[in-house]
Symmetry: D2
Subunit: 204 residues, 4 copies
């Protein structure tokens, strides 16, 4: 059976909840003929790409969709590009705090998402979920994971659609001055992204 690999992130810093954990875990195990394989990654510049690339090699999925939290943003943001840069204002969960380092020393400056990002935004809006394309996944672990996966897939030469989607704070996370979204909307956003990717795969 063909597989879609979906990743979320463990909690980080002082936020004891990362909304992508529950969102990823509540996705169906099978969708439109695809097995949905779920992986929750540590917020670690080193271990997140390692564990994801292990799964990539083991599962040989038809597509990879990673989710992460972008506290402070409004709505769901579908990332366009990952850049070859690790630049942290704070330590990751292993205490690493790289400053202006490359993700891969001799890697290209960036990789574009190979997911259908505009279709995903349109599908989210169709579901009355606020969504937009983002031109930067930052320079922290989320971008590092996205770059590493796209770099691995490029090296492999197999055309596996792969990309990253950021979700905002949940209402329940206690950030009253920042934009947030209710849990049910985040759950529906996850489903909508996976549905759109599955359709895209079946139309290729």
């Amino acid at each position: 059976m063909r597989t879609i690999l979906v990743t979320g992130f463990e909690s980080f810093g002082k936020d004891s909840v990362n909304p992508t954990v529950k969102m990823v875990e509540e996705l169906p195990d099978e969708y439109a003929g695809y097995s949905i394989r779920k992986l929750i990654l540590p917020v670690s510049f080193e271990r997140a790409p390692e564990e994801a690339m292990d799964a990539l090699r083991g599962l040989k999925p038809s597509a990879v969709v990673s989710f992460g939290l972008a506290g402070g943003r409004k709505g769901i943001t579908v990332e366009r590009i990952a850049v070859n840069c690790k630049d942290a204002r704070m330590a990751d969960n292993d205490g690493a705090e790289p400053e202006d380092e490359p993700v891969r020393a001799d890697g290209p400056a960036a990789y574009f998402s190979t997911l259908p990002i505009k279709k995903i935004v349109a599908a989210l809006e169709e579901e009355r979920l606020e969504a937009s394309v983002s031109n930067s996944a930052g320079t922290f672990v989320c971008n590092c994971l996205m770059y590493s996966l796209l770099d691995s897939i490029a090296a492999e030469g197999r055309p596996v659609p792969c990309g990253f989607v950021h979700v905002p704070y949940l209402d329940s996370m206690g950030h009253p001055e920042a934009p947030s979204m209710d849990e049910e909307s985040v759950r529906r956003a996850g489903e909508t992204v996976i549905r759109t990717v599955a359709q895209y795969l079946s139309e290729r």
Copy 2:
């Protein structure tokens, strides 16, 4: 000895740290002839105003300065006005989640800060700290406290300068996609606000 009452907030929601706790606690105990009295309040629509108003009555301070966290904002924001509205997207630390309720049922729609807000912003910028006037303290506990204190002081008839200052996330709080400030800058911001208020009092 004359007194300035300074309040901060306990942590809230999933953030196990509120930067105003340390910032308030590290303020000097005496400054320019004023005793600095420090109070850390619960993030509770009911108890925060109660405890602050108790201190107001007990200490009869010359000024009241409250600090709170506004995660997602950039720089220090000095609030201009508090509104007679409690409208929460999330429960406070007591589980209360009021929707479109007044802070005081028959109270006026709003109170302006009686601190020298433009002077405070100028003093922060002089210290190379990013700062601006904010026209909304939101509709959560921060605004509720600010309204309640200004309402109490208005009822009392004693002209006690009183207002609210929001600080952003600390770098160390783990919100890589949101603006944040380092701890030392937040500490200096607190000192600068109190110094400006003390000068203002002495010039009146």
Copy 3:
């Protein structure tokens, strides 16, 4: 026939287009038994309130809805409150640039919108238009108009629902780094607001 007074704003500063002009002008002349009376106001602290209050006295409308441009904001923002403050970073179209002045010298600190703001946001979202409640209409001419109208209506004693709605830049206005909305969505937003207000009036 009963009347709803709807106001927009002329262009201001360097933007030679204000999206509220076309949006207001394209509203139907009659809706659900209400005559829709349209007024385009100058971006002037003095003349905007004067002209609007003249219309208020002449037309004796059942409701007043004002629209203005809030460049830089994302989506439609329905204002909750107007404050008794004029504080301009730039001159209005008459060259006036008040700093920390009251709208009315002995007026209350603020007035809450008397439109059904949450219903309006829900109706906009139902139409798949991005919308939220805003807690600040700023301290420029938009807020000044909103305050003045609510103050007039309060003085008159007639319970006329009145409030303010901000629209974002149009895509065509040429602000590629700022959020914007297409013209057709802004047109539909205007209609949706008026439809919601008309329903609200008929249910009272």
Copy 4:
């Protein structure tokens, strides 16, 4: 005499002023042993890179610094990276409105700025000007110019530091709801950037 090429942009869309015109024109003609050559470019996906690359070939400058307007942003933003993507929500001044097209069909996904971006931010903050690194120059003409110049320089093989700096609205541009900066601060920002680049060149 060695040369630094500095570019600004003509006005665009409805904004009849682009703050980078005056800022660039008011730069000194000579600074620290460098001739400062100034070029104001059209907001055109086609002509801006063409004219800039002509100047690059003709002048053989030691460094290239481009400035553009990013209305809606707060403070000066120094761009980290340019991406191989033209994706416009609005037509440029020639009526072109590319959607998801590459800047150069077979070009790499992105180029990093080769200016000392962190040094520039530090120098601006030293001058009490709000500044930060930006991870996205967008997908409009500014990014297209930055990509094209870095791509040309890479092809040429001469190590010419090159990058892009965005400035916010001027206060006088009439966007009361968006962040803005006064003209004198923008002028000082331009000088500070050029001074930092000249120092960087002389230390290499």
